[in-house]
Each structure stands twice: as C-alpha cells, then as structure tokens.
C-alpha cells in the first residue's frame, strides 16, 4: 500500500511540476498579450442614427454582386463576431466572393434608450438602414442577411416591407418560439417581464450573459477554462481564446421596452408564427415574404435549436426557399473551420444567382 501511495505521490508531483511550468509559460504569454480588437477587415461608418451605425466594407473583389447585402445582427452581443479573426472571417470571405457588404452596429443602449420599442428597431432603425443602402447604391430592393435575433427582426421587416428586399438570408434565426428544445424558451415562459423591466429599466448585458452561461454551466464556466489550460502556452491558441472571450462578454444592455415586447410577444405568446404580432399598428404577416429565402441553421445549436429555425418555410409565402444545415453549434456557425470553407460560397452563390441588376 505504501509503495502504491509513493507511486501516486511521485506521479502527482511530476504532474504538478509540469503543470506549473506550463502555467508559468502561459502567464508570461498573458502578461505580454496584446489583445487585438478583432475586426481585421477594413470598414467605414457611412450612416449614423442615434446609437445605430452602418458600416460599409471595402470591396476586395473586382467582380461585385449588383445587389448589396445589409447584415442585421442581433441586439444581444456584437456584430464583430462575423469578422473576428483574419483567417476565420465570414465578412472577409464574402467580400472575396464579390459581395458588397453593409453592416448594422446597434451600439450600446444606455438608460436614455430604455423606452425604445421593438417597433422602433424594425420600423425606424432597420427601416432607415435599408432605405440608406437603397439610396446609396441606387438599388430599389436590396439583399438582407439577418443573424440570430437579427434574423427574426429581418423576417419581421421583410414581412412589413417586402418591396424593399430582393432576397432574404437568415442565419440561426429563431422563428418558432413555442419549442422545448432550448432552456431559454422554457425559462422565458415563466419569467415576469413586467417586473423585471419596471425594476431594472434596461436589461444588463451581464444578466443575459449569466443566463446564457447557465444553459451549460459546467461546460461554459469550468470545462472551457480547463481546456484553455491545455493550450495556455500556445500563443495562437491564447490569442484566439482571448478574442472569443472578449466577444462573449462584450454584451450590450437591452433596451427595456424592446426586450419586454420581444420576450412577451415571441417567447411567451409565440405571436410571430401565429400572425398576431403587431408592429406600429400593423400585423406582421409572414406570408407576405414572397422573395427567395435562404434559411441556414446549426444542427447542434443550444440557443436557437433547429426546431426554432426550420419551421420558417411553413409560414412564409415564398416558393423559392433553400434550407441549409451545418453540423456545428450556434457560435461554430461563425468561427468553425468547416463553416468558413462552406458557408461563404453557399451564401454568395445563392445570392449571385438571384441578384437582379436594377440600379436607379
């Protein structure tokens, strides 16, 4: 027994020494880490309205698609996930394939914005963003690419203003909220949104982040960092990890009135697919979406499961619907090597085939 314990102790000590060496090297790396701000692709602000900014990316291809793409990201988290690293940038790859890209940055809502309604995001900010790109490019109907919650907003907008959208692309967008596959949907049905908003005004980004972490507490709060220790002495891995970490916790607060309507009308009443959602006095009728639609979802998505995205085709009026699935999670959709190879050509080929040259 003593021999066994001595062996165990010797191995423990040996493992501890090597782990300490690795940690020391890792800490040296962290101490000298020059954390990049991400967003390696060149872009320029071309339009501002309150907290919203529209950026235009410098085209990098000689052959540019005649219809520009406006990317509408979620209000939760920041849009630079799509351009996080030079070698894993959806934006950079789309530009290479000839896309003319405009991107909405929703900014950081402050206390002043707590009364901003979901209706304002759809019928004011997104509407003005679409009109700006139409004016700027002389194209009467543009391509709209909605990501995550931005996809839901884009679907609502397209249903209300179909004449301004030539093609609609949705990525990991929740459409059917009456599902039980995601804890978010289950929890949201029980919470008292009225009291939350009346007490807090805006919903702090950290509170939302805590909710997202609790969906997989041991994987996201422990295992992730244990795995990070495995590669803490690898500069490239540390850089990638820090960029991702920065993005994950760079969470804007949510305008209280918008969050309240989004949760109560969608998560609690599932009114979008019922055709009972009212925006600025008008019913959002998804059957009004008759333009070509590309619906992309992630098979292992724990935030927006396939069961929430896939049903889109059942509710819209379009006859040209393409559905594409990737065997990744929600975040993997933007950063995994597999999707970086396959997703940009899929979007670009699909848009090139359907973009009609009509410039005013």
């Amino acid at each position: 027994m003593n021999t066994f314990n001595e062996q165990v102790l010797a191995k423990f000590t040996d493992e501890w020494i090597r782990a300490s060496e690795k940690l020391t090297n890792g800490l040296k790396l962290l101490l000298s880490a020059n954390e990049s701000n991400g967003e390696p692709t060149e872009k320029y602000p071309v339009y501002r309205e309150d907290k919203m900014t529209i950026y235009h990316y410098e085209p990098t291809s000689e052959n540019i698609c005649p219809t520009p793409v406006l990317i509408c990201y979620a209000l939760v988290n920041r849009q630079y996930m799509m351009d996080l690293e030079p070698d894993r940038s959806l934006i950079k790859n789309l530009l290479k394939l000839g896309m003319d890209i405009y991107m909405i940055d929703w900014g950081y809502p402050g206390k002043m914005d707590q009364f901003v309604e979901l209706d304002d995001y759809i019928d004011l900010y997104l509407s003005d963003a679409v009109d700006f790109v139409r004016r700027e490019t002389g194209v009467p109907a543009i391509n709209l690419l909605g990501v995550c919650q931005g996809g839901t907003l884009s679907a609502m907008y397209t249903a209300l203003h179909p004449e301004k959208i030539q093609n609609l692309v949705l990525m990991v967008a929740p459409i059917d909220f009456g599902i039980d596959d995601s804890l978010l949907n289950i929890w949201a049905r029980h919470i008292d949104v009225e009291t939350i908003v009346n007490t807090m005004g805006n919903i702090p980004g950290d509170v939302l982040n805590l909710g997202f972490l609790m969906l997989k507490p041991f994987s996201l709060m422990i295992d992730k960092y244990v795995n990070f220790l495995e590669s803490i002495d690898n500069p490239k891995a540390v850089e990638t990890f820090l960029r991702m970490e920065r993005w994950i916790f760079d969470s804007p607060d949510q305008a209280g009135a918008t969050w309240k309507k989004f949760v109560s009308e969608l998560y609690q009443k599932n009114n979008l697919i019922k055709g009972e959602l009212i925006i600025n006095g008008r019913k959002v009728d998804l059957t009004k979406i008759t333009q070509p639609v590309l619906n992309i979802y992630a098979e292992q998505d724990h935030l927006v499961p396939p069961s929430s995205s896939k049903p889109l085709e059942t509710y819209i009026g379009s006859r040209d619907i393409t559905t594409a699935a990737f065997s990744v999670g929600h975040i993997g959709m933007y950063v995994s090597s597999k999707t970086q190879k396959e997703l940009p050509p899929l979007i670009s080929d699909w848009l090139w085939k359907r973009s009609v040259v009509v410039r005013h």
Binding site: F115, L183, D192, D223
Partner: protein, 216 residues
C-alpha cells in the same frame, strides 16, 4: 497537462466513496431540515415581524415609514424564498455526485482502469451538466426560479424607492426624475422624426407637376 495515471483508480474510487457517504448522509439531512424549517420560519415571520411591517404608519412621516416597512417585508419574503431555490441546486449537485460514484464503481466492477485523471474529471463534468440540465428543464425549478426572481426584484424595487426618498433631501435628481426626462426625450425625438417625414412628403408633393397629387 493531465498525465497518464495508471493504477490510481482505486485510490480515487475510495476517495469518491467517502465523499458519497458524506453527501449521502449530510445533503438529505440538510434538505430535510430546510423543508421543515422554512415553513416554520415563514409562519413565525407572518405572526411576528410580518405583522409589524404591515402595521399602518402614523403622523407626518407615515408615507416614508410605510414604504420602508414594505421594503423590509419584501426583503424578508425574498430571503425566505431563496433557500428553496438553493435547495434544488444542492439536490442536483448531490444527484450528480451519486452518479459520478456510480460510474466509478461500475468501472471497478467492469475492471476498467482509467488511464488518466482526465477520465474522472470528464465524468464529473458530464454528470453535473446532465444533472443540472435535468433540473433546469423541470417545471418545479422554472417556477421556483420565477418566484425567487420576482421576489428579489420586488425587494429591489421597493428598496430603490426608499433610497430615492432619502436622496430627495439632497439637491440632486433621482433615477425617477431622470426616467421622466428620458421618456420625454424619447417621445419628443419620435415626434420630431414624424414631423420631419411629413415635411419631406409635403415638399415632394409640392414639387410635383400635377396639382391633383397634392390631394392624395
């Protein structure tokens, strides 16, 4: 980092068995104690401090006094609800630990010798994740979460009002004052945008050649 560790399974298993005996005896006892004590505490509170906090105030400061007592009562209700929430987390943790031990014992029965400590770590993470996911999906947890959150927010809201009362003595605006300003600015901006658009429409229409279009 986590090196190959042949032969350490038995040591770890005994350690985990010891922990299981501990959790198996202490956690259920603690959970049972919680369940007995909580209703007693709530009943005692209702019959003593609760009555005091609900007693009407008198005189010049009655409004402030009542708001303060309501805040204290909301705080007490939140603190009474919180252990019920924590109890569910503790139980999920205990279930996870039982399952970890079960897996380890099964490994011993099957004579599977774990190669590394990482094997145990992975079991621990996955069993905990499973246990908490099951808890989080349950109707009971969702109700408790909603109830605790609601009571916590009610306590905060009422305490914020008491703080605002205190701050009103000073020459500074309170959150309530500022919220009124924010709301007014929001509606004014909206109104201005609407008027700007109406003005632009009118300008466009007046520039049109056909006067009939002015009417539409």
């Amino acid at each position: 980092m986590i090196e190959s560790f042949t032969g350490t399974g038995i040591g770890l298993q005994s350690e985990l068995m010891g922990m299981a005996l501990f959790t198996g005896s202490v956690f259920p006892a603690a959970a049972a104690a919680y369940q007995t004590v909580l209703p007693l505490f709530a009943e005692a509170y209702e019959n003593t401090f609760g009555k005091f906090f609900r007693m009407p105030g008198l005189g010049l400061t009655r409004e402030y006094e009542e708001r303060t007592k309501k805040a204290l009562e909301a705080e007490a209700k939140f603190l009474t609800a919180l252990p019920n929430f924590q109890k569910q987390l503790v139980e999920a943790s205990k279930t996870a630990m039982d399952n970890v031990v079960g897996d380890v014992v099964k490994m011993e029965i099957d004579e599977v010798t774990p190669e590394t400590y990482q094997v145990f770590y992975k079991i621990w993470v996955s069993r905990n994740e499973d246990s908490f996911t099951e808890l989080f999906r349950s109707e009971q947890f969702c109700r408790t979460l909603a109830d605790t959150l609601h009571k916590g927010l009610e306590a905060k809201k009422k305490m914020d009002m008491v703080i605002a009362d205190g701050l009103s003595l000073f020459n500074i605006p309170t959150n309530k004052d500022m919220e009124e300003v924010y709301e007014s600015v929001y509606h004014m901006k909206k109104r201005i945008r609407l008027l700007e658009r109406e003005l632009e429409d009118l300008k466009r229409k007046t520039q049109m050649k056909n006067p009939r279009e002015l009417i539409s």
